[in-house]
């Protein structure tokens, strides 16, 4: 079910501005890979190239290769819609669809992709996804209430349920806890622990303790100087990054001596 991702010689552009250059990394299946680094270093941009969401921004494009189990997701005959169905994403701010109920939010990816499904099948998906997101017990009695009525942490778990309902192979998370309180953050981190049994997870975080807690592998991105493109400084097992980093810049950043 889970797949590996290989990125080779990736350059990311916004129009004529080169935001990230020369990224090469591998994401192992059924593991959590964390992207850390200062703001503006391009870690979110790299994340967004992994499911071709980057190109949604007018003028944005990439060069280089992104391989999903050896298959180039940027080759000309690949449909970005199919890529995004295989690689799901959770965003920084919880954003359930405001016009939909909790149930409709979970099934949105299924009901809007065109294929017809029976009601019973959808019911199963709703329960399975909400259980998968540790939200079922809290919302099972109010599935027909608006998704926007939940608390922030619940909304974010609803967004995770929505993302895993389409059964992706990979789950991308762009700072999923930065808008949440510590208790909701703990709930999401517990959830990540469970999800990595089935999914390949890539998480962008500003919180280094979080990276240390949840990830097996950590990639450190940095900006060499203002106006220059961001770079991948190093990628290594999380333990090694936090105890014995290979680069001085990494050590400066994780020990707070940065800048």
């Amino acid at each position: 079910m889970a797949k590996r991702i290989d990125v080779a010689d990736l350059d990311i552009y916004y129009g004529s501005f080169k935001a990230v250059e020369n990224v090469t990394l591998a994401v192992e299946p059924r593991s959590v890979t964390a992207f850390i680094g200062p703001s503006g270093c391009g870690k979110s941009s790299v994340l967004r190239t992994l499911n071709r969401l980057h190109e949604v921004i007018p003028g944005a494009y990439i060069t280089g290769k992104v391989l999903l189990d050896g298959e180039d997701i940027y080759s000309a005959d690949v449909d970005p819609v199919n890529v995004r169905r295989t690689i799901g994403m959770v965003f920084q701010r919880p954003n359930p669809f405001p016009t939909m109920t909790i149930r409709e939010n979970v099934t949105a990816g299924l009901t809007l992709d065109g294929a017809r499904r029976s009601k019973a099948e959808l019911e199963q998906v709703v329960e399975k996804s909400l259980r998968g997101a540790n939200l079922w017990d809290e919302v099972k009695d109010r599935l027909d209430r608006p998704g926007a009525g939940l608390s922030g942490g619940q909304q974010q778990r609803l967004c995770i349920a929505r993302a895993i309902a389409v059964e992706p192979q990979v789950l991308l998370m762009d700072e999923p806890c930065s808008a949440l309180d510590p208790i909701s953050t703990l709930a999401i981190e517990d959830l990540i622990e469970q999800l990595k049994l089935n999914f390949t997870i890539v998480i962008v975080t500003h919180n280094m303790q979080q990276a240390a807690r949840v990830s097996e592998t950590t990639a450190f991105f940095n900006l060499p100087a203002i106006g220059q493109p961001g770079r991948l400084v190093e990628i290594a097992p999380t333990e090694q990054i936090f105890s014995n980093p290979g680069e001085q810049a990494t050590e400066d950043y994780i020990s707070g001596r940065f800048g």
Binding site: L53, N82, R85, P98, G109, G114, A148
Partner: protein, 361 residues
């Protein structure tokens, strides 16, 4: 020592109290100043050159402002005086803004309501002389409903789709020429007088293409008039939909067009409906384009594609220019009907928006 100390302490307490509480005008102060001003204005009316209701009232307001601010300045100090002056100004501005609205509604209600009867809504003006009472606006009501309905059917989809193009597709088009052309012409169209639009339909469709004068020709003109309002409001509403929402829909593997149709448009629906209703309300009262495209009719014609058709604005104009007491009364009745019609449409649209739009917990 002790007595001196406590004396100082007492004085500072009273000073502190003074500083915090300050001295205020009595509660009845505002009312008293108001009454005195009215009374003084009335005296001036009787004794001096101040004349008329409006003039007297204006003098009363001026006296009130001067009296209250002056009294407050001497008792409460500068800050409170300015506060009272500003408060009075804000209330006055609000009253000035609301007065014409209430006056129009009140006048139309008082003059229009007596004409209302079952007959007024079920008969036409066919074979009713302007001098005689009776007759009705059934023909005009049908005409307005059909013309405005057709105009909305043509104008709303085109306007909404144009706005969808401008917001969702234009930013990534290779050339900005089309989108800037659309934006430019939408702006220009906002400023084109309705009579010019009517003239355009008259020359293009009736003279050049040889189509008959009809309610449909009128609805074409009304649709053109509606377009800029709909495009602009829909554009603004679509821009308010957070980028995150579009991206998370795309990230679920939902195709672009379905993202727009099922996520973006429903989220913006409340505002889009409000914009559409505003434009409908605006064109429902248009008279000039109707006179050029469908002209007048005194009889019932429920086919908008053939022959002249009446409408409420032209009915009001026709009845008013007839100049008899009976016809003027009918004109007021027509005006009240038009206002009520627009209110019903607006309330209906709000209900639809609430049922289908963003859900609140």
């Amino acid at each position: 020592m002790a007595t001196v100390g406590s004396g100082k302490f007492e004085r500072s307490t009273s000073l502190l109290q003074d500083a915090l509480a300050g001295r205020r005008l009595p509660r009845w102060g505002v009312g008293a100043v108001g009454l005195t001003s009215l009374l003084a204005a009335y005296l001036l009316n009787v004794l001096t050159v101040v004349d008329g209701v409006a003039g007297t009232f204006l003098v009363a307001v001026l006296l009130f402002v001067i009296g209250q601010t002056g009294w407050s300045f001497t008792v409460e100090g500068r800050r409170h005086a300015v506060d009272r002056l500003a408060t009075t100004t804000v209330y006055a501005a609000f009253l000035i803004a609301v007065t014409p609205l209430v006056a129009v509604l009140g006048t139309v209600l008082v003059k229009g309501f007596p004409v209302f009867s079952a007959q007024f809504f079920t008969t036409s003006m066919r074979n009713v002389s302007p001098r005689s009472e009776g007759g009705g606006l059934y023909h005009a009501l049908i005409g307005t409903l059909e013309q405005v309905g057709l105009a909305a059917l043509i104008g709303v989809p085109i306007g909404v789709l144009a706005a969808v193009y401008l917001v969702e597709y234009a930013p990534e088009a290779k050339s900005r020429r089309l989108s800037s052309a659309i934006s430019f012409f939408v702006d220009v169209m906002t400023g084109v007088p309705s009579v010019v639009i009517g003239l355009f339909i008259y020359t293009a469709f009736i003279l050049t293409l040889g189509l008959p004068r009809s309610g449909f020709a009128a609805s074409l003109a009304l649709a053109i008039l509606m377009l800029p309002v709909i495009v602009r409001t829909t554009e603004e509403m679509l821009r308010l939909v957070p980028r995150d929402l579009r991206e998370s829909s795309l990230a679920l593997g939902i195709p672009r067009w379905k993202t727009i149709l099922k996520v973006v448009l429903p989220t913006a629906l409340g505002g889009i409906i409000t914009g559409a209703m505003l434009s409908i309300a605006r064109v429902a009262g248009e008279t000039a384009p109707l006179l050029l495209t469908t002209f007048l009719s005194q009889s019932i014609n429920s086919n908008p594609f053939k022959g002249p058709q009446a409408a409420l604005p032209t009915f009001i104009w026709d009845q008013f220019t007839s100049g008899t007491d009976a016809s003027r009364a009918r004109a007021w009745g027509g005006a009240l009907t038009l206002i009520v019609l627009i209110m019903i449409l607006y309330a209906g649209a709000k209900v639809i928006a609430r049922l289908t739009g963003a859900k609140k917990s």
